[in-house]
Point group: C2
Chain length 460, copies 2
């Protein structure tokens, strides 16, 4: 371990300078005017991987942005991990809120400021630097690693599923390691072991064959916006429980152990409330805020629209109204099961005054990894050694759809070994990444790779 620490220590400037080079590419995947920048960034990344000794480096073209792949083969008996990350970034507007330009990285107050510093260039780059460190400091990387870096994560990962489905042999692995999540708090290394799934459905209520004059028809014809409002209130009872028949049938209940672990986390509810600017929180009765976000399924109206929404007034009964509704799923619900139950429920409520159409927009299953697997246990130890603090386990309420693709196609569970912090401003102006977490994370990952190559029964 001394050699590892020493190598990182000696190469701090070099590592930072290389990261800065990487961060300078404005690889904004959702803006077509940055298509070339995304490609240049992919080629730089591939060249950098080659320079580290990673083999079989390829820039795979897709119908969207390229996928950069490379591998390190140690031995047929060693475990194989797939390291997934993304080199594309979010847009930067509003530009005027940035204190320093988003693609000119700078260091202030122990943080690296740049778009992508935390999400996800900084975090995926740590894997390359950990690989380099281990190889140079110890002369060997004792596992097989497949590096898979995509350029479309911030634009919906539209072509990754297809790539994974077409290349199961190439990507075959024992476990997927992803550094793209956050710690629960600064100074508190965290391992995320569960993500919620998602179902997204659009519900359209169709009434009269045109917008009707509310004077000539109002009072005698059912109003699609009113029907939609009523439908929405029929999806939860007054205790916040979802009333779709069978919705909770397959749900894995929270164990008392987990609930106790959640309670021990330093969560400040009044901070949480005031940061988002609401007077009272609201959710399913009988569960705490963290439980509601992390471990309970929920249903949200993401958008609603119908009738006249411009300036002033137009006195109509709208011909139709619609809502985009998402449900976050908790283990062991499945997207297909829940979307079917939702649609059946909505259709069973449809009154004869209107027609109701439903369109499935998106779906992804929840993900949960056993926290006592060897993959997680070694991550726990590596984090403790690197940061000197016992890591906590946490869940996240969001969804990382590729996790479910990896589980489904490759049969490999994810280890969510993230190093971001809640104040990193990902997706916002002034995105940053803690220098402490950057170098500590390189150390943790190098130790993790090393431990994965050692006998699984050994304790370190």
């Amino acid at each position: 371990m001394n050699y590892i620490l020493q190598f990182i220590e000696q190469n701090q400037d070099a590592f930072l300078n290389q990261l800065f080079e990487f961060l300078r590419f404005p690889s904004i995947s959702s803006r077509s005017e940055h298509k070339d920048d995304v490609h240049r960034c992919a080629r730089w990344l591939a060249d950098h991987m080659k320079s580290l000794g990673i083999g079989n480096v390829n820039v795979f073209e897709t119908l969207g942005h390229p996928i950069v792949y490379g591998e390190w083969f140690h031995s047929a008996n060693a475990p194989t991990i797939l390291v997934y990350g993304h080199y594309d970034v979010q847009p930067v507007d509003p530009l005027n809120l940035w204190e320093t330009p988003p693609f000119e990285p700078s260091v202030r107050n122990g943080k690296i400021y740049a778009r992508g510093s935390s999400d996800d260039k900084g975090q995926m780059f740590m894997h390359l630097k950990a690989f380099e460190t281990l190889l140079r400091a110890e002369g060997n990387v004792p596992i097989n690693i497949k590096f898979l870096f995509e350029g479309e994560e911030e634009a919906g990962s539209n072509h990754l599923d297809d790539f994974v489905e077409k290349n199961p042999e190439l990507l075959k692995c024992d476990v997927v390691v992803i550094s793209d999540t956050e710690w629960f708090a600064d100074g508190l290394p965290s391992i995320c072991y569960a993500l919620r799934g998602i179902v997204l459905i659009e519900v359209k209520v169709i009434g009269p064959n045109r917008d009707l004059h509310s004077g000539s028809f109002g009072g005698a014809v059912d109003n699609p916006a009113e029907v939609l409002a009523w439908l929405i209130t029929q999806l939860k009872n007054r205790y916040g429980r979802i009333t779709i028949p069978g919705f909770y049938d397959n749900l894995l209940p929270l164990s008392e152990e987990e609930r106790n672990a959640f309670r021990r986390l330093p969560f400040d509810e009044s901070n949480f409330r005031s940061e988002i600017g609401v007077g009272e929180l609201f959710g399913e009765l009988g569960y705490s805020t963290l439980e509601r976000i992390w471990a309970r399924p929920t249903l949200e109206i993401n958008g609603i629209v119908g009738g006249y929404t411009g300036e002033g007034a137009k006195t109509i009964i709208p011909s139709e109204a619609s809502a985009k509704i998402s449900m976050r799923l908790a283990p062991n619900q499945t997207a297909s099961e829940i979307s079917e139950k939702f649609i059946n429920h909505i259709q069973s409520l449809a009154p004869p005054t209107v027609k109701i159409e439903t369109v499935k927009l998106h779906g992804g299953n929840p993900v949960m990894t056993p926290i006592d697997s060897i993959w997680i246990k070694k991550a726990q130890i590596a984090l403790k050694q690197a940061f000197g603090v016992e890591p906590v386990f946490m869940r996240e309420g969001g969804s990382i759809p590729v996790c479910e693709t990896f589980q489904r196609v490759l049969g490999a569970s994810p280890v969510l070994l993230g190093f971001g912090l809640p104040g990193d401003n990902v997706h916002s102006p002034n995105e940053s990444f803690s220098i402490n977490n950057f170098f500590g994370g390189i150390k943790a990952i190098a130790l993790y790779y090393k431990m994965l190559g050692q006998d699984n029964q050994t304790s370190f």
Copy 2:
């Protein structure tokens, strides 16, 4: 009466040709590129009025389009009527759906086809032709008439209120006569004696200080779109009755006489339903469709919007959601009373998870004229004599805001003596006006003017 009939008979071609000249002006008030056309139309109208012997003709400029005014003084002892109409028209798009060009009038199947033929050039022009007929056929018009024609009715009558309020002496009258409504059915002369009022309010539900990620917050934070949906369902009970406290306090109940009169009208509910394309009608329990539209107050969602409404999906809890809500008022509710009650009710429902803002957009009181007044009785007789059919009394569910202005400022009730037909396609392509109603209407109006000048006790 023979001279009247004879004069109209002899001048049919001349009357039609003059109307066609009037209809050829594309006086679309809501389109700035037609500003000149509206002005040219106003000047033509003023010149035509002068040519008929109408005095004190003036084209009053406003901040919008001109108001054309003229008067006929008979005697200080005779009643004074204010004839109101509008010479501006609706836009014509989609142009490709017109069988003949909207501003090249043509006659087919007993109908005049042109934009404005029914709404309202054709109908207001009948008053000028009736005046001319009476003056030329009988040598006298035995009442005082003030003609007030505006050029902004289809663009919101923005400057008429101001004009009326600034000229109460000029416009002083005993009654206002308006020909801008429709008959209940073809062949069934109708007098409208009541219009609903209106209150328009925007309700905004404000939640978190930004759109929140539905993964990171969903389940723990109240959703403004869901709150709005719930608020909407709190405005009516399951019998369709509005639950705003005190909402019905001042409402004038329908008399049994009126309900019986409504029942005698040839209303075909299945036609009504299939024309608008809905499977079932829906409204306040205990009232028929015509009662619901004409005589019961109601509440409609005119528009609703919140969160992400674009293509695809965005998984957020919206920061806010809002609805434009209109209430149609029935006699004797008032706009100020109802908007206050509505706002109090909404605010009393506001949960501590959100803030609720309300904005008043518009208001107008309902209008009702006693059907046994001498003004209405004489209209009834004139219609019977002109068309040979006993006219029916009807209400309309819409609102004509200038009626309330005339009542408030001039203290004069309206006589709604319209000649349009339900199939006239007003505001749509292929607007038309029945030739039969055009000439019959001129006859009816001429007889009406004549009768208004005779002793009120006389029966005709």
